[in-house]
Symmetry: C2
Subunit: 410 residues, 2 copies
DNA sequence: TTAGTTTGTTTAGTAGCGGCACAAAGTCAG
DNA sequence: CTGACTTTGTGCCGCTACTAAACAAACTAA
């Protein structure tokens, strides 16, 4: 009868009024250490808003679970009075999450510990099969190999795909660059691969830009932001992501931040969506190559476009094209700012290169065309994390542990 | 020292990792009754995910606080077995929130009980002074009069203004229709008026469309939606609002959902923002009058535009104009759907009239131009609540009680 | 040394909830 | 009308995660 009640409880946990299980200080405490916001028990106490007794007990329990470590010797505090603190840090040899990423050029697998630390990486494959089950089977096999080599405990697996992932089905809606069928059941296929490989823990799947945003929010340029907007280009097309209050906002069916078809140039090129001048066809790598009149080479559109941006000072024609892209990106960002009012924007891929080519120009366009309550305009920053999609995929797998460490590991 | 710790705690409650105070079943339970989702203790038990014992105790405590009432006699359950439930309802003579609204035509004050019930209304003033302090003083005086007449306890006051309200300053950024100075410190002025009138409880201020969305989410057409988008026109201009997980999303500086300058007609009329074809100048009442070639009359733009829409079947020219507005509204909504992926859209003001004039056309445009994972497209509904901004203003004042009934009232 | 400051720990107490047994109030079958 | 069944509500006990407060530890400053 206990089981019955529990299942019924799970059945309709739709309303957020439901009390969450495992809502102790353990999860928040782990999250603070995980994101580097709790270097000592003293600040842990302050950040959690609990007593020193509780913070101490919580730290001890997390250490017993093998998730964090407390320095034996107090660290010499420079110029501060009082008893020095013992340093808290993520456990060196603790459990890891299995992170996987699939993209146009192949796939990659890695083990990621708490704190977003990449512990081990598998040499990624350079080509990609048209069959999702084949690809995901291979990437999981590479991950399983890493787990065997390192002997680490696994908390779960996460996969980043370059496509919108529909909720709640977990299907890849537009895996354009993978030659995968649209609507492939990636979440289910990945979960099956993980299970078949004998890997412990649950499996998760998400869009790569979403996961990059999550990673940047926790360990990169987005740290401390409350409403973080991330916009990035890959090889083709534009992706967006939004992190609100530390959680990804994927919308009701996983399709939020499909920003590719914002109009940024009314007289612009026709887009496959039927409109013209969409952000997608105006600011992606192909758009730059087309504007400059360069033929795509085999090295890859993104690499090629990035080199063009880097050369913009030398060639006036390139400079003009880059400025046009910056202006249109700025218009798109301004539109997003007026809708979402983020407190920080992070750019990746070609957009990052555009930002770095002329930060002032981009910031000026955004400021000119958007409402912003405070002075100085929205901060616009570049990504700072290597392999942020991979780290983000690991975040998905870590999430249950962060929410309820005892429930997930005990 | 307790006080010291508490103040320090309040000081930096930025991180969401902080454990919230008063996180018991009391608040969620009250919210369920408040939103009509807990008609009996049995469903309260199920919705909270607690035991019957707890739900019973919680209901008893809320009743003791004078917030809800439990029927003495069980209500005859139609066609169900087992012991019949006692009905839970919002207390008839419980506390109220003081709700105030300012708009172009004057102001209004009301007392609103739990469940969004308007308990008493003051006859609104029909003109409005150019000085915010004067106006807010008058509206609060009217509210205070209502409180004296009814003798009800007051939990706080809320104000709805037709302007974006900047956070955290609480200034009205664009009170265009009020002849108020831009940047007026409405929140502070309102709070002072409330305090000076000797009214108990905290004072809150918000944008009228935001508050309308909040009210519709809790008591109207938005009930049960997780990601609710609300778009409405008043007399001039377009306003938007987003309710996520039951909370208003106002963005980092209160300026989210400033959707007026989405481009919906690249060859359209120039907008004061510098662009052309903005949602604002293409779908507001003035846009319709201009398209039909009707001069504004003294009765008010919104009333006039609504009548035009109602007459659209009779006059082909009006019909054409209305269809153009519908198409452009649809484009704007589609853009928002691609960014926010809401699970429901609610329209108010002229937009509501446009929806009701030709629901199929609007739904078709939105479905055609937006991504949506499930079949049937995003549900688009009309507002259902009278005075939803007023009720929403009251929701602001009720929020502390809903979060922690004991802390706010005990 | 001694006082002051900050950190960590110990112990005792408490609020809020789960588990369980039982009571209450209806329906249904005969 | 009488039990059997079903569902709702209550009383009691105990557990868990916390707080409060006193104390101990480890440093700086004079």
């Amino acid at each position: 009868m206990n089981g019955k009640a529990a299942t019924r409880g799970e059945a309709h946990l739709s309303t957020r009024t439901r009390l969450e299980r495992g809502r102790t200080a353990l999860g928040p405490a782990l999250e603070l250490v995980h994101t580097g916001r709790a270097p000592t028990r003293a600040v842990l106490t302050a950040e959690l808003g609990v007593t020193r007794a509780t913070a101490g007990a919580v730290a001890a329990e997390l250490e017993a679970l093998g998730l964090i470590s407390v320095d034996a010797k107090p660290s010499a505090a420079a110029g501060s009075q009082g008893r020095p603190s013992h340093r808290l840090s993520v456990a060196g040899a603790g459990p890891v999450a299995l992170a996987a990423q699939v993209h146009a050029d192949g796939f990659r697998a890695a083990l990621v510990g708490l704190g977003g630390r990449i512990v081990a990486t598998a040499p990624g494959c350079e080509t990609i099969d048209a069959d999702p089950a084949q690809v995901l089977g291979s990437v999981i096999e590479a991950g399983a190999q890493l787990l065997r080599e390192t002997g680490r405990r696994c908390v779960g697996a996460g996969l980043a795909v370059p496509s919108a992932v529909a909720e709640p089905e977990g299907t890849a809606l537009n895996p354009l660059h993978l030659a995968w069928p649209a609507g492939a059941q990636v979440r289910e296929i990945f979960a099956n691969c993980v299970r078949d490989a004998g890997i412990e823990g649950p499996a998760f799947t998400g869009n790569d830009v979403n996961l990059a945003a999550l990673a940047e929010h926790r360990h990169g340029a987005g740290r401390g932001a409350r409403d973080l907007l991330c916009v990035a280009t890959g090889h083709r097309g534009v992706g967006g992501a939004l992190v609100l209050d530390g959680r990804l906002h994927t919308g009701s069916s996983g399709l939020a931040l499909e920003v590719g078809h914002l109009t940024v140039h009314p007289e612009g090129r026709p887009c496959y969506c039927g409109s013209r001048g969409c952000l997608d066809v105006e600011t992606d790598p192909m758009a730059l190559l087309a504007a400059v009149g360069v033929e795509p080479s085999p090295e890859g559109l993104l690499v090629q476009a990035r080199r063009l941006v880097a050369e913009e000072r030398a060639d006036p024609a390139v400079r003009t094209a880059v400025e046009a892209l910056i202006d249109r990106l700025g218009l798109g960002l301004a539109g997003l700012v007026n809708i979402l009012n983020p407190d920080r924007i992070i750019l990746g891929g070609l957009h990052r290169a555009l930002l770095e080519a002329d930060p002032e120009r981009l910031r000026a366009v955004v400021a000119d065309r958007s409402l912003w309550g405070r002075s100085g305009g929205v901060p616009i920053l570049a990504c700072t994390l290597d392999h942020n999609s991979l780290v983000g995929a690991a975040e998905l797998a870590w999430q249950p542990v962060l929410d309820d460490p005892l429930g997930a590991l005990g």
